[in-house]
């Protein structure tokens, strides 16, 4: 199981989700995607995205304006 880091800081909607989608397409099931985002809408968006794409949102934190999410590819 690999852990993939994605830096999507500075990207506006839907940039971070597009990045995440591209990475998720290439990685294997069970891999963990760690993404860092500065777009605040992402906090809500990521839950919908995970639900729709059947991936698992492991954690969602915010630190100094940076949203960090860990997603497991299902």
């Amino acid at each position: 199981m690999a852990e993939i880091k994605i830096n999507a800081r500075g990207l506006q909607c839907p940039g971070p989700i597009v990045q995440l989608f591209k990475e998720a397409k290439t990685c294997a099931c069970g891999d963990i995607l760690c993404i860092e985002v500065t777009d605040h809408g992402f906090k809500k968006d990521i839950a919908s995205w995970c639900k729709k794409t059947n991936n698992i949102l492991l954690s969602l934190d915010e630190e100094n304006g940076v949203v960090k999410a860990r997603i497991k590819k299902a």
């Binding site: 500075g10 506006q12 909607c13 839907p14 989700i17 597009v18 989608f21 919908s48 729709k52 794409t53």
Partner: protein
């Protein structure tokens, strides 16, 4: 009906509405949706190549060509355009806020496999030829759109 298909009719050739269309399209594609965008009337201006292309056209078609914006860089805002000043200000603010430009959004849409269909009837009416439009488009009529819309669960008219 497939829950994984979205269609958008892009009727408007306004910069703000075009951006909204492509942001929705790219978001939908990133959620694993199949997305079709159907460009008609003013929306066709978004797809024009920026350069001038010499073609045989009637007087009215030539006139239309002069009046209408040529490509994504030349579009105005739907409100507060002020002869292009508004669009310029909007683009400046968006660049500062790191929002993708319309051309970048179009490039992402293509990369994500968003299908773009140009309405041939509107092209005919407005005197727009295939050579003037960017590559990688499909050409069709309302039936092509309806065929796609029938299978989709979201259909937008922008």
């Amino acid at each position: 009906m497939s829950a994984n298909k979205k269609t958008i009719i892009v009727f408007s050739g306004d910069l703000d509405k075009a951006m909204a269309s492509f942001i929705i399209a790219n978001g939908a594609a990133a959620m694993g949706n199949e997305v079709s965008m159907f460009f008609t009337f003013w929306g066709l201006n978004i797809l024009k190549k920026p350069e001038s292309i010499k073609l045989k056209k009637s007087f009215l078609e030539t006139l239309f060509g002069w009046i209408m914006p040529r490509g994504a860089e030349k579009l105005g805002l739907s409100k507060m355009n002020f002869g292009g000043m508004g669009a310029f200000m909007m683009k400046t603010i968006m660049r500062k806020k790191n929002v993708s430009t319309l051309n970048e959004l179009i490039a992402t849409a293509r990369e994500m496999g968003v299908k773009m269909i140009a309405c041939t009837m509107a092209m005919d009416v407005m005197g727009i030829k295939e050579e003037e439009l960017i590559d990688g488009l499909e050409y069709g009529g309302v039936i092509s759109y309806l065929g796609e819309a029938d299978e989709a669960n979201v259909n937008l008219f922008i």
